[in-house]
Symmetry: C2
Subunit: 192 residues, 2 copies
DNA sequence: TAGGTGATGACAGCGGCTGACATCATCGCT
DNA sequence: AGCGATGATGTCAGCCGCTGTCATCACCTA
């Protein structure tokens, strides 16, 4: 057990989410979030490098799930198979219990461009992670980047669907969106 | 002709690019940029909503080229054909004369996460623009979003190549990357 | 020449974020 | 029990990004 009250980042995140939801992101100061859990502004910034980061705490697990998914793909898998493996692994992160929190969090993010920007940034990092994994497997630079970016595209679309559709799991939705991607690009381009 | 010295945003951008390149983005204050062209910090922020925006001045033309590309696509074009049309239109923006500037600008952006974040944000806006155009054509929500995001993926990869490869035009590279996308997704997934 | 318009300057102020130093609770060791 | 090490927190000062407000000044129009 910790010396100090454990879960400080989590408590800050919870308080921040509530304050952002009621007052809005910009109308909430870091000092107010800290005060809500009995801490000071300075301490807030010791736990989070930026005010926005308080909403992204815990996402490291997602990155690692993604990395693991890439690592576990068959050695002879094609780039898109590796990407699919990464997406399946990511499905383990977005469990059913997580959905309410994700929804509340997304509602806040949808209200603020700065937060959307941050979320995109995290997504891009995820893509870079996958691309690096692909390059390690000997996939060419351009192919790796493209496949990873497409994986990001699928993820972004699937995640949005997952938040809306209570009836389907993240894995199901992702599989559908991946299939849709293959359908979309099935016909060759006339001017290709 | 204007009442005041014309091209103030352009002059600020030029000064900013030079200062960012030598000192770095964070080590350069908005006041310094303004002072470099004989203006005050306050005036800088009248031209640019944020310090970062000084590097994105002029990109509205890109958005409009993109929009025009979508509009000019054949009425019966498939989603990916529309995306390809948008990418071709965007090629008109990245002319040969623009390459040196783009390269210098990118070198600065590559050095700073905040700027990378901003660039991704702009790219996402572009994708949203294309997606909206697709929806206007009756393409379903999910398909539109996915196709647009894939277009963004192709653009991101192609742009990187364009900066590196002096010998090829943006249009050529984009066509290649689009072809690569179709190659990547040609084989159906085993678990699809 | 007078008045309108719009870019700029000057100033005050908030909030995000950081560095530096002090404090204090807990842990491990004796 | 006592003691030093460790690490989270508090306190304070300060820079910078960014904004509101009002004054100023250049230029245009009549």
């Amino acid at each position: 057990m910790a010396r100090w009250a454990a879960g400080t980042p989590e408590r800050l995140q919870k308080a921040a989410l509530e304050l952002f939801a009621t007052r809005g992101f910009e109308q909430t100061t870091a000092a107010e979030i800290a005060e809500a859990v009995g801490l000071t502004e300075r301490t807030f910034f010791r736990h989070f490098s930026e005010k926005r980061e308080v909403l992204f705490h815990g996402q490291q697990a997602l990155v690692e799930a993604c990395r693991a998914g890439v690592a576990q793909a068959q050695p002879d898998a094609s780039p898109m198979e590796v990407v699919a493996a990464a997406l399946r692994a990511v499905g383990a992160f977005f469990t059913e219990e997580r959905r309410p929190f994700s929804r509340a969090r997304q509602a806040v993010i949808d209200q603020n461009p700065q937060l959307q920007e941050r979320e995109r940034h995290k997504l891009a990092n995820l893509a870079a992670e996958i691309a690096a994994g692909l390059r390690d497997r000997g996939v060419g630079e351009v192919t790796a980047a493209l496949a990873a970016e497409c994986g990001m595209a699928v993820f972004a679309v699937a995640f949005g669907q997952w938040l809306r559709d209570d009836a389907r799991s993240f894995a199901e939705i992702t599989a559908d969106v991946l299939a849709e991607l293959h359908r979309l690009t099935a016909a060759p381009l006339p001017q290709g």
